[in-house]
Amino acid sequence: MARVQAGDTSAFDQLIERYKGRLYATIYHMTSNHEDAADLLQETLIRAFRAMPRFRRDARFSTWAHRIAVNVTINHLRQNKKRFSMSLDQMEMDPNELDSIRELLSEQALRPGDDREEQIASLQKILNEAIQSLSENHRAVVVMHSVQGMTHGQIAEILGIPEGTVKTRLFHAHRLLRKKLARHLKDF
């Protein structure tokens, strides 16, 4: 970390290799667009590298980098509210998960004749549309908690807000998602 803070780019490369996947996933799940995610990941890395001299080592690098990524993504989403396009047919899913999908989705969402690819695309579309309908702040919390499995404490640290606020946002976001997905899901 000291080498990175001294401006050693090769040391920063190692950090990139280590965290690029998780950072990309966070950004992608918030934007639902692979091209935007790749571009925003680069912007995140550039900003992180420039801000490295100001990085205090009392926080974890991953938390700090996630904070930059989430802020960069939220700014991007706010600036491009009217321009929204999802990346479809780019989902790679474990075949074993397909039964789970069938179990969760209603007949409205999955028709018996549809093949696997169509069912996956359908699921992706339904989920992403529902997530994209949330506000940027609600979306960030849902993605980090429900999709990426972070704890309330980690999210609070990344967003710089109290844990109680994280829980409140999550509660409201889930309520909105249930409402949005009610038509497509069983048991709602």
Binding site: T9, D13, I16, E17, G21, H34, L41, Q42, M93, V147
Partner: protein, 164 residues
């Protein structure tokens, strides 16, 4: 509760979404390319680079540079002198332009807003009706003739109280 679990399971399925094949292979290379580009762009606009370019131009082609600099200075000096030449006569002969027109007039045309109130004071109320105001000769009867002074000094624009 069950609903919430179902939602959580569904959202967790999004973890299975993967980036496009190969899209994360060259993140480091792209980062370095972008970093170099940003540094280059930043350097191009720094004062040191701009000064260096100026000095390069001066040292590489001094004759051409001096020729352009001299031409630019001559144009600038010409504009300053031209403006100065026009400004001096205007300042010296300001009164002479105003005197004839004002001295020959027998009507006092006063555009001061304060006189509007004075006009209303001397005019009957019905004289200020809309019809009266539409009359192009309206107000002529209230105009006071200007009595020329036998040896009056030429009246300047300021003294004539004409507002432009």
């Amino acid at each position: 509760m069950e609903n919430d679990e179902t939602l959580q399971r569904l959202l967790a399925l999004k973890r299975c979404e993967k980036p496009l094949p190969g899209s994360l292979d060259n993140v480091v290379g792209d980062f370095h390319r972008r970093l170099r580009y940003e540094q280059f762009r930043r350097e191009q606009h720094s004062p040191a680079v701009l000064w260096s370019r100026f000095m390069d131009a001066l040292l590489a082609e001094p004759i051409s540079f001096l020729r352009h600099a001299t031409a630019g200075a001559a144009v600038a000096a010409g504009m300053v002198l031209g403006l100065g030449t026009l400004a001096i006569p205007l300042a010296n002969h300001q009164g002479q332009f105003a005197a004839p027109a004002v001295a020959q007039s027998n009507l006092r045309i006063d555009l001061e807003p304060s006189d509007d109130a004075a006009l209303r004071a001397i005019a009957p109320a019905d004289a200020l009706s809309i019809e009266a105001l539409a009359d192009p000769d309206f107000g002529r009867q209230f105009a006071q003739p200007l009595v020329p002074q036998p040896q009056a000094a030429p009246v300047s624009f300021d003294e004539a109280n004409i507002i432009f």
